[in-house]
C-alpha cells in the first residue's frame, strides 16, 4: 500500500512545486514507483517544472468526472521509470473537485504506487482542503521570512485540525551568509516558532531556477548543493537517517574544531 504525502506551505512562491518535483524525481531515482498530483487547478505548474507540459491529454478533473480512465491521464516521466504525473486542468477552478473525490482517487493510486505526492496550491481555501483530504503525511515548506513562517504556522494548525499530525518541515532558500550576519532568520528561530520536526534545509541556489526553467529537477544534478539537499530529504522521507548538511563552507579550521567540541563561535 502506498503512502500519500501532501506538500504544502500556505504562502505562495516558497517552493512547493519545486519541492514536489524534486522529491518525486528523487524517490523515482531510488527505484520506487511514485505519482505526483498537481492540485493547483487553474494555475498548474508542476507539469512545466517536470518538463511534461506537451504530453498532457487528460487531467485530474477529467479523471474525477469520469471523462477518462485514471491510467489514461497519468503521464509517464521522460527520464525515470516509475515516475508519473497527474496534471491539473488549467481551464477549471478549485471547486471542480471535492475532498471526498480526492480521498477516493488517492486510495485508488495507493494500490499501484509506493508514494503519492500531492502538490498543494497556495492558500487555505478549497484547493488546500482538496489537497490534504487524502493525505497520510504532510511536508510543510517555508522560507526564512517572517511572512512565510507565519503562514506555515497557520497551515500546521489546520493540518492538526484535520488529523494530519506531526508534519515535517523543509526550510527552503536559506542563505547561510545572511543568517551568519543576522539578516535572515536562522533555522533555530524557525523551529522555535513552528515546533515541528525538520526534515531538510535547502540552500538558495541559482541552479534551481535554471533547472526549473529547463524542466529538469535539480535533484538529478550531482554537482548542485540544492540537489544534494533534495537527495538527502528524499532518503529521510523514505525512512533513512541522514545527517543534516553543513552549509558553512567558509568556516575555518578553528571554527570547525570549536563546533566539534560544542563551543559556540563568538
Amino acid at each position: 500500500m502506498g503512502e500519500v504525502i501532501v506538500i504544502t506551505s500556505g504562502k505562495g512562491g516558497v517552493g512547493k512545486t519545486t519541492t514536489t518535483a524534486n522529491l518525486g524525481t528523487g524517490i523515482a531515482m531510488q527505484g520506487k514507483k511514485v505519482v505526483l498530483i498537481d492540485t493547483d487547478i487553474g494555475l498548474r505548474n508542476l507539469d512545466v517544472v517536470m518538463g511534461l507540459e506537451n504530453r498532457i491529454v487528460y487531467d485530474l478533473v477529467d479523471v474525477i468526472e469520469g471523462q477518462c480512465r485514471l491510467k489514461q491521464a497519468l503521464i509517464k516521466d521522460k527520464r525515470y521509470d516509475g515516475l508519473y504525473l497527474l496534471p491539473a486542468p488549467q481551464t477549471r477552478d478549485k471547486n471542480s473537485v471535492a475532498p471526498h473525490q480526492m480521498v477516493t482517487l488517492c486510495n485508488e493510486l495507493r494500490q499501484e504506487f509506493d508514494y503519492i505526492l500531492i502538490d498543494c496550491p497556495a492558500g487555505i481555501e478549497q484547493g488546500f482542503k482538496n489537497a490534504i483530504a487524502g493525505a497520510d503525511r504532510a511536508v510543510v515548506v517555508t522560507t526564512p521570512e517572517v511572512s512565510a513562517v507565519r503562514d506555515a504556522d497557520r497551515i500546521i494548525g489546520l493540518l492538526e485540525a484535520n488529523e494530519i499530525r506531526n508534519p515535517h518541515l523543509i526550510v527552503n532558500r536559506v542563505r547561510p551568509d545572511m543568517v551568519k550576519r543576522g539578516d535572515m532568520m536562522s533555522i533555530e528561530d524557525i523551529i522555535d516558532i513552528l515546533a515541528i520536526g525538520l526534515i531538510g534545509v535547502i540552500p538558495d541556489d541559482e541552479n534551481i531556477i535554471i533547472s526549473t526553467n529547463r524542466g529538469e529537477p535539480v535533484v538529478s544534478d550531482s554537482k548542485s548543493l540544492a540537489g544534494q539537499a533534495y537527495r538527502n530529504i528524499t532518503r529521510r522521507i523514505m525512512g533513512e537517517e541522514v545527517p543534516l548538511m553543513n552549509f558553512n563552507t567558509s568556516d575555518g579550521f578553528l571554527a570547525k574544531m570549536k563546533k566539534l567540541f560544542g563551543i559556540k563561535p563568538a
Partner: protein, 221 residues
Amino acid sequence: MEQEPKSIVFKGNNEGLVIVVPEDYDFEKAKAEIEEKVQNAARFFRGAKIKVVYRGITLSPEEEEIIKKILDEKSGAVIESLSKDDETKHRPAAKTPRKPSAEPGTMFFWGKDTGMCRFVKNTVRSGMRIEFDGSVIVLGDVNPGGEIIATGNVVVLGALRGMVHAGSEGNRDCFIYALKLRPIQIRIADLIARMPETGEDDKSNPEIARIKDGIIEVEQL
C-alpha cells in the same frame, strides 16, 4: 417597571443569582418549579459560589432553608446565602455610573476571582482564537496570529508571541503571565499595549503584565 413573568425566572447579576417568582405562586408551586429549573441548569452552576436572592413572594425562614437546600444539592454550586431581594435598595444601585469600558454595555465583575479556568494543551497557532469566560492557561506557546480572549487572567507556560486580551469584559485586576513575553499586542480590560518595536532581546525570563496607575506595566517575576 419590569414585566411580571408568568413562570419562575433565573437571572444573573453582579452579586449572584436572582430568582424571580410570580406573585401569585404559593410555596409548594415555587419549590417544585425551582427544583426543576435548577436541575436543568445544573451544568451551568457546577463549582460556582453564588449568592441567591428572590423576588415576588415572601418566604418564612423555614421555607428559605428548604429552597437553599434544594439549590445546594441540585445545582452543585456553593450557595453562600439566600434572602429576599430588597428592591428599594436594588433599584437606585442600578443607576450608579459604571466605570468607563471599551464597549458600552459590557458586563463587569470585580476582584481577583475570575471564575472558571480553561487549560489549552497545545500551542495556539496562527489563525486560532480561544475565547473563554474565565481564565486561560496555555501549556505551550501562543504564536503570532493566534488570539486568546479571556474574561479572566491568561497564563502562557511557553512563549507568548501572539495577541492576548485578559479581563475582556472590563476587569482591570486581570493579568497576563508568560515564561517568555514577546507579544504582538496585549490587552487588559479596556487598555491596549504593544511591545517596543526595537530592542528584541533573547532573555527569556518569566514576565507579568498588569495594570498599574492606569497603564499596562510589564515586570519580571
